[in-house]
């Protein structure tokens, strides 16, 4: 039996991965947006859960987290969004994304139990590098979920095999050093970087950080198995509302799917 994540990459076209912040600006609105993402061409949903000290995020996602927390959003209520989503969609993978402390505080076992029952497929925990992710990985493994690891430009040749060997589902390649929403993508090719990761792993490689436009998404999708966009979508939702955000998502997913 293949997982939801494997089924996406088995389609043979680049996957479009959209990040939204759970509970931004409130749970009901975020749920509406989440439920509409597959219809706008999203293959995998990265669902953020807020943390007070998001050290790897730029101001756009930090502010989204602040709005979400003001509205009372917690890790448990974001997992609740996944549960509601699963009532009407059984095929789109959901990956929770955030920082370690809320998960640690809930307890790795309790988190894995709650998330798997809600239909969550995996998690990306920014501040759990391979050296520290063992206990959570075991807890998630036992529930059939993936803990997805990040590879970055600083991950050197010696370290890369170790980093990717413990990933499951896919490998997330962070295409630049910096925080989310940081520098605009330079426009250069990511071919060599993706090849470097692929050389070390058989898993699909998705590329994120700094992608904002359909043109850039298409450029990356030519070389990678998937493209992640976060900041641009979060910003559109905040500034221009749900319809504008979904229109942006549609243009990004079309560009990604037809890139090759």
């Amino acid at each position: 039996m293949s997982t939801r994540i494997e089924q996406i990459f088995a389609k043979g076209r680049p996957a479009f991965v959209a990040y939204i912040m759970g509970g931004d600006p409130d749970l009901a609105t975020a749920q509406d947006v989440m439920n509409a993402l597959p219809g706008a061409g999203v293959d995998i949903i990265e669902l953020g859960f807020p943390f007070t000290d998001p050290m790897a995020d730029g101001p756009v996602i930090e502010d989204a987290g602040i709005r979400a927390r003001k509205a009372g959003t917690t890790l448990a209520s974001v997992i609740g969004m996944a549960r509601t989503f699963r009532e009407t969609d059984q095929s789109t993978p959901i990956i929770l994304m955030g920082y370690a402390n809320p998960v640690y505080h809930m307890g790795y076992e309790a988190f894995s139990e709650l998330a798997s029952k809600a239909g969550v497929d995996g998690a990306i925990i920014v501040d759990l590098p391979p050296e520290e992710d063992g206990p959570l990985r075991e807890a998630m493994d036992s529930k059939g979920m993936s803990l997805i690891r990040l590879a970055t430009p600083t991950t050197d040749a010696k370290r890369l095999p170790k980093v990717v060997s413990g990933s499951s589902g896919f490998v997330y390649y962070v295409s630049m050093n910096g925080v989310t929403g940081g520098a605009l993508a330079s426009g250069g090719s990511v071919r060599e970087q993706v090849a470097r990761v692929k050389h070390a792993s058989k898993l699909p490689v998705v590329v994120g950080f700094g992608v904002r436009t359909p043109e850039r998404a298409a450029e990356i999708a030519r070389d990678a198995d998937g493209v992640v966009v976060g900041t641009a979508i979060v910003q559109a939702l905040h500034q221009d509302g749900k319809d504008a955000a979904l229109a942006l998502v549609r243009s990004l997913s079309d560009a990604t799917h037809t890139a090759k």
Partner: protein
């Protein structure tokens, strides 16, 4: 220097003090952290590095700092109970730049020089670590950027100006509570973005491994000196050591040499703000629970959902919701005791120390004074205490004037 060998093996190779410590950082920062760990391990055993550090510690920082018998404070303690332990101050406020912080900056920036890094970043709360970093960076000809919460910029104005005079760029941080923890977030963001050329000089015994052990080692000079000095003055070890705790570097610096001496009580004083029960405090061990923040697992102020709670203290240097992992471990093992002092107690004892000893203590060590008096009374006249006078209070005069309702700025800018 004769160092005890039994406690040189902490932490383990993963940077763990028991359950605490570790390296909880984004993947981008793992390679530079491993590089730093290797460079520090090399430098630590290199006699040339130690000789250079010793040279600067003696001629630039002004070490050793005196161990001073605070006679009138001792008399004051004895007044109520009839007898009190002798109180000594370890005078690290006499260091160049006015606090213990420079011990660590000297070590880290010489290491940065050795690693070929010329761009230094730092976070600061009270501004003392920022000033010390800016000072050493100027001396070693390095670029220096200091992140400081906007709230702290207001309450530590003199230090902000000092940093600028020293050629550093001070960047205001407006996110979160705009205090020390937010400055640290911003410094980590800078590091992740400019990773190749940047050296992050953390100001306390917190952060990802190897920072807690490296900063402790650079601060341990305080306790090594104090041990030799008290032996010379009194012919025996003290009964208790007392130090204030923000992240815990001046306390670890004083404690480290004495950890194997189990007859010596180690007492850390956290900031109780308006009282631990009020919820408005910065006492992570007294009022917190274990969690993960800023690269390490340790005790944190947090809510029931694992969100970090705001810390509160009149002292910008103690206004931090976490504590170094080695303290968390010493706490759980029962080797060290952790107590607290409120804003009001700190203010009162700042004034007491000024009038009795002619020393303006920083607001941070002002928190240690009331608990030192308690212990002096408890021990009685046979007892011996060393308190770390880790900083001087010149930087705090505006905050204190404000708290006392006096307008000392009038006439200067109005």
């Amino acid at each position: 220097m004769d160092k005890p060998t039994t406690n040189e093996t902490w932490p383990d190779e993963r940077g763990r003090f028991g359950d605490y410590g570790g390296r909880f950082v984004a993947e981008t920062l793992m390679p530079p952290i491993l590089e730093l760990e290797a460079a520090y391990a090399e430098a630590k055993v290199d006699p040339a590095f130690q000789a250079e550090l010793d040279y600067f510690m003696t001629h630039y920082v002004g070490r050793p700092s005196p161990l001073y018998f605070a006679e009138r404070l001792t008399e004051h303690a004895a007044k109520e109970t009839g007898s009190a332990a002798k109180i000594y101050f370890k005078r690290d406020e006499l260091n160049h730049t006015g606090a213990h912080k420079i011990n660590n900056c000297m070590g880290q920036l010489l290491l940065a020089k050795r690693m070929g890094k010329k761009r230094i970043i730092a976070e600061t709360g009270a501004g003392q670590h920022g000033v010390a970093t800016a000072t050493v960076a100027a001396r070693l000809g390095m670029e220096c950027i200091v992140y400081m919460g906007a709230t702290d910029i207001v309450r530590q104005k003199p230090n902000v100006f000092r940093m600028r005079l020293l050629g550093a760029e001070v960047r205001a941080v407006h996110s979160g509570t705009a205090t020390l923890k937010d400055a640290m977030n911003e410094a980590l963001r800078d590091w992740v973005t400019n990773v190749a050329e940047t050296f992050y000089c953390i100001g306390t015994v917190a952060g990802p491994h190897p920072y807690p052990v490296m900063v402790r080692d650079f601060q341990a000079v305080i306790g090594h000196e104090a041990k030799a000095q008290i032996m010379e003055a009194e012919g025996r070890l003290p009964d208790a050591l007392v130090a204030c705790i923000g992240g815990g570097s001046n306390a670890m610096g004083l404690f480290h040499a004495f950890v194997p001496d189990t007859n010596v009580r180690l007492i850390g004083v956290e900031a109780a703000g308006r009282g631990v029960k009020s919820g408005l405090h910065a006492a992570s061990l007294t009022g917190g629970t274990p969690g993960i923040l800023h690269g390490n697992r340790t005790y944190l102020l947090q809510d029931e959902n694992g969100q970090i709670a705001d810390a509160h203290s009149i002292s910008a240097g103690l206004d931090y919701p976490g504590i170094g992992p080695e303290h968390a471990w010493l706490h759980d093992k029962g080797r060290a005791e952790y107590v607290s002092a409120t804003d009001d107690e700190a203010l009162e004892h700042f004034q007491l120390c000024a009038k009795l000893e002619g020393i303006l203590p920083a607001l941070e060590p002002s928190h240690a004074i009331p608990r030192t008096l308690d212990i002096a009374k408890e021990l009685g006249s046979d007892g011996l205490i060393i308190m770390n006078m880790c900083g001087r209070g010149d930087k705090d005069v505006f905050t204190i004037a404000d708290a006392l309702g006096e307008d000392i700025a009038a006439g200067t800018d109005g």
